[in-house]
Point group: C2
Chain length 138, copies 2
Amino acid sequence: VEVTTIYQGNMRFAFGEGVSRVVMDARPEAGGLGEALSPKQMVLQGLLGCTGLDVASMLTKKGVVFTEFTLEAKAEQTKLHPMVFKSIHIIYRMRAAEADRPTVLRAIEASKTQFCGVSAMLAKSAELTFELDLLPLG
Amino acid sequence: VEVTTIYQGNMRFAFGEGVSRVVMDARPEAGGLGEALSPKQMVLQGLLGCTGLDVASMLTKKGVVFTEFTLEAKAEQTKLHPMVFKSIHIIYRMRAAEADRPTVLRAIEASKTQFCGVSAMLAKSAELTFELDLLPLG
């Protein structure tokens, strides 16, 4: 796994074009513009992408119909430097049949415990919790 | 720290607009288009942004002149699931005066050991190493 990023000035880094473009900058209190995602938000995006792909892949393979699949993560950090995540809560939200709730929960649990490497790495610092917000199929 | 992402179909997630837009998808062998960054690449971007902002901030505060600052990360993963990073090597590349090499190295080391929370989290799984590729000022 490889990546590159280039300093743009103003406490901003960017790399790539089109759908592979990634921009990060510092909050205003740290001398940045605070317009792009912060590095810590980028890590949480990686966590959501990792577990989200696991779940989407498992549900697709099982023929579960799901729509409007959204993930949200909220993390609390330690007060002291280096500030690391001490807790991360993930909300998995989707429309699917109520009868599929156990299958969706098993997919989320399997991602957390068996498949998602980003979860496994962050779980060494933070307590990871989740909830499923299942909405009726439209 | 909070983030959200939305499933787009085709094993792709995306969120945000303009400089805060982030797109992730799976490799073709995992059913995705492989056009955007993978979740693991997103995590490495967060690592580079975190330590890159530390270093840029420290050098700026010390009045060190540096240009063309680029960071590259290469990570090796475990073979077994969940696949986590077992080693991450970061190359810090910039143009700066040779006389500033010790200051730059101290900033990199301080980021790794004291300031960068992403480094601290990933160091629980992976061995983190770095090198400084200092090029002459143009």
